[in-house]
Amino acid sequence: MKQEKLDVFLLTKPPFSSRSELCLKLAARSGKARLYLAGDGVYHLLGGVEEFSKCEIYACKEDLEARAIKAGKKVTVLDNFYSDFIEDIMEHCRHEYTY
């Protein structure tokens, strides 16, 4: 599945944080990016980050549940979020950023 070496972004900050803005700018520049949402990062789904960003988007299930946030169809909700993320950054990615 994850053959292509893409840039990987882990976003744990909520919208309106300046780090979030930086993260989304870098992801947009990358063109080919996977965006992992965990912690307060899952709040980006409320604003429809999956609609305006061209990234593949993954979200952490337990963080969604805690915050009562639903993920749209374009978002992959991962049960083993951290294992999948680790495999991605260690094996399949070009550059990794965390914000």
């Binding site: 744990t12 909520p14 919208p15 309106f16 912690g39 307060d40 709040y43 409320l46 604003g47 429809g48 299930k61 337990e62 963080d63 549940e65 805690a66 915050r67 009562a68 946030i69």
Partner: protein, 114 residues
Amino acid sequence: MKSVFYLLDTAPYGSEKAFGALNAAAVSLCEMDVTLGLYRDGVYLAVAGQDSRKLGLPNLADILYAYGELRVLVHEPSLMERHLFGEILIETLELADEEEFFEAMESSDCVISF
């Protein structure tokens, strides 16, 4: 001081601050008029249906329900900005426009921020 306004502008779960603000507001209830104001990222606390068991953290929505007598104001413009207007919110909370929110701060004897 006869009244205190606790201002929470941090999102729940990502930090201990929301839990800290709730506890501080709860213990003040017997001695003072207490308002908890949810502002900016603090308004995420208002979303109904939170289930934090898998994170191993206390359910902050349950704490809000447990202190039903606590006056909680939700800053409407912050809700709108965060696309929370369509979401189901905890029903014991009070929506306040900016004017009402600021008036509540101004009419409290002190403001404590988290």
